[in-house]
Symmetry: C2
Subunit: 438 residues, 2 copies
Amino acid sequence: MADRRLRDRCPRPDAARDNRRVSEQIPTPVAELARRSRTAGRTLAKATRDVKDRALEEMANALGKAEDQVLAANAQDVAAAEEAGTAPGMIDRLRLTSDRVAQMMDGLRSLAGLPDPIGDVVRGWTNPNGVQVRQIRVPLGVVGIIYEARPNVTADAAGICLKSGNAALLRGSSSAAHSNAAIVAALRAGIAAAGLPADAVQLVPGPRSVTDELMAARGLVDVLIPRGGAGLIDHVVGNSQVPVIETGVGNCHLYVDADADPCTALEIMINAKVQRPSVCNAIETLLVHREIAEDFLPEAMRQLAAAGVTVHGDERVASYGDVVPVTEADFAAEYNTLDLAVAEVDSIDAALEHIHRYSTGHSETIVTDSQSAAQRFVAEIDAAAVLVNTSSRFVDGGEFGFGAEIGISTQKLHARGPMGLPEMTSTKYVVSGSGQIR
Amino acid sequence: MADRRLRDRCPRPDAARDNRRVSEQIPTPVAELARRSRTAGRTLAKATRDVKDRALEEMANALGKAEDQVLAANAQDVAAAEEAGTAPGMIDRLRLTSDRVAQMMDGLRSLAGLPDPIGDVVRGWTNPNGVQVRQIRVPLGVVGIIYEARPNVTADAAGICLKSGNAALLRGSSSAAHSNAAIVAALRAGIAAAGLPADAVQLVPGPRSVTDELMAARGLVDVLIPRGGAGLIDHVVGNSQVPVIETGVGNCHLYVDADADPCTALEIMINAKVQRPSVCNAIETLLVHREIAEDFLPEAMRQLAAAGVTVHGDERVASYGDVVPVTEADFAAEYNTLDLAVAEVDSIDAALEHIHRYSTGHSETIVTDSQSAAQRFVAEIDAAAVLVNTSSRFVDGGEFGFGAEIGISTQKLHARGPMGLPEMTSTKYVVSGSGQIR
């Protein structure tokens, strides 16, 4: 090496940009895609925040430049969905507009403004023999995201993975295939423009069986995160060999205790049910202590009816207003609609038992002025979030100040509750010495 | 309630001890056992540190009182193993002595001295609207441990689970069935004596198929931790529906860089290979940079031979001393014996590539005086622990000062590296307000 001139030996600032050529993606089997992700992930893991933030900016720029192509591709998906007789709500989720593209771009740019979790020293100490131990945040590696109709998830998930140093393998819905392909092509061009490997973000195309290949790619994919309805999540959780982070199924309860302030309870009930019924942190069941039922339920039922909510209740509840007869299935349901199961309970114990039985472990709320009731509820409810005298709608990465959210984990391992950037990481112990042996 | 006297209404201090009767365990299907564990887990999750520490003390006392029964039961297991022609090493692991019972008792008592992770506030903040968010450590719930011959794991695992508020479902080896049953009976009596539910610790008896039932008990068992050889761990990881924490398979490398201090490298090599070859943090492969090979390898080979180590190497290595010809399988092997694969590498890149290819992600070591080589190794090696100029034998819960260790996780989700009490927990968000809505 000594005989080469220094200017030949030192890398030039632009040399890393050569991989811009690979931003066009060729369809390949899942294992091959995953191997490319691993290779890209090794580079991403070493990328500094500066480079990653520049990539996020370039991704946003590229998406802006590709707006026409993205909207044209989306129009194809929407036309196909309409032809197939897809429900209007689903088509609304699928449809992109200039505004929605701008939102994706804003999302990518705001990620650039968030702190980089990679390299954080989680804890560290020096052993009595002088050996230094540091636990340091590192990326997970290759993250597979399996999601449904909304094409905006493509840009959100890609951005969160990139910022946290993870290579993203994105498996979207076939109904959004054209939209996703156009978005990913733009994102990859942006990533390459910043000198990072375009394979940091890859789409997993192909038939339904490809999802099963993804679930079998243990050792190549480090974690799978399904985002969507209960059916999708159950399928992935039940069949994946790759570790899964379970997200988002929320059969959330609001318990109005005997000692609740009724006005507070009414406000929280309406907010948690009506403000956005389609989301996982909306309530699906209202439990009312019998000692407050006579005071609370008539007005509650009136307000629910006025807000267009259908109440599913038994004869005790029916005595306070109009109900549809409630079934066991109602108590287990995550409606995601303007429906609410309502039950009167004889005690806080009965409320705890009911929630213990039907909860999906997402977010459970008590309204009470009793310190002991609040304490019991907080201690005994087994969920990602337990709320006292406030709305379950606050259980959200944005509301928690995380700046970005990949989903809300309802499992106990690794991450529980809203998942921000630190939840997309693992750690590594770095142990340094000066020749110490045991 | 008002007409009952206060002394009838308040619980008497001894009332909780009524469950002492259930400390004898009746064999039942796994799902039923898991349901009992869940019930016990709900009580354990609320138990204060005082009560849990008293239980650990009672468990140790009960084990001491039951020493004769435990040793008699163990003698049955040992006799059966001898009759079956089991290897002496295995029989040694299976055998209990008065000393080993005392070690189990010490282990339980030392757990009482460790801080309780449950209830720790991991982080907390107040949102701009006044809503308070606290992330609090809670138990995982029901922890299944699947392990091999050593009956001392029974007491260790039971103690760690109890201290961290988890109900333990213990699936030991059939070869230790009598020993494990005697130990668990004693532990359960101790737990009950402290007023906690004996079902906090249950043995899962029955044929091999029972392990599969345990792996299918998703929703009833929160996590499975296999402890043992690669075969057991692969089986559990590949087939479990319950989330698994992968532990302990260690194909660990020592890389002696061109800029290594040879004396430091020799000391670390001998310590990491010879001090206790049967453990997962011992090294299995030595990689030597070609620029230092001529200086380092002759003495290294001499010291290895003197320590009884069989070197597996190619012709380059053979030029420095006696070798058995190395195969691809050697580089992939976790010997756990006095064997060592040795290779000369042309560069740090070649060393990184070799480790990237064969590492099980446990503990990887570099010996170097080069700051840039150390930095690259630390940044690019993807493992639970990366060591610089010190022995991989330090990657251990005891050496890390954790006081107790359930195993060393080699996966990236949830916990990575030595797992102490905090790694046996999940978290819960407690969100408190005064009527805030969104």
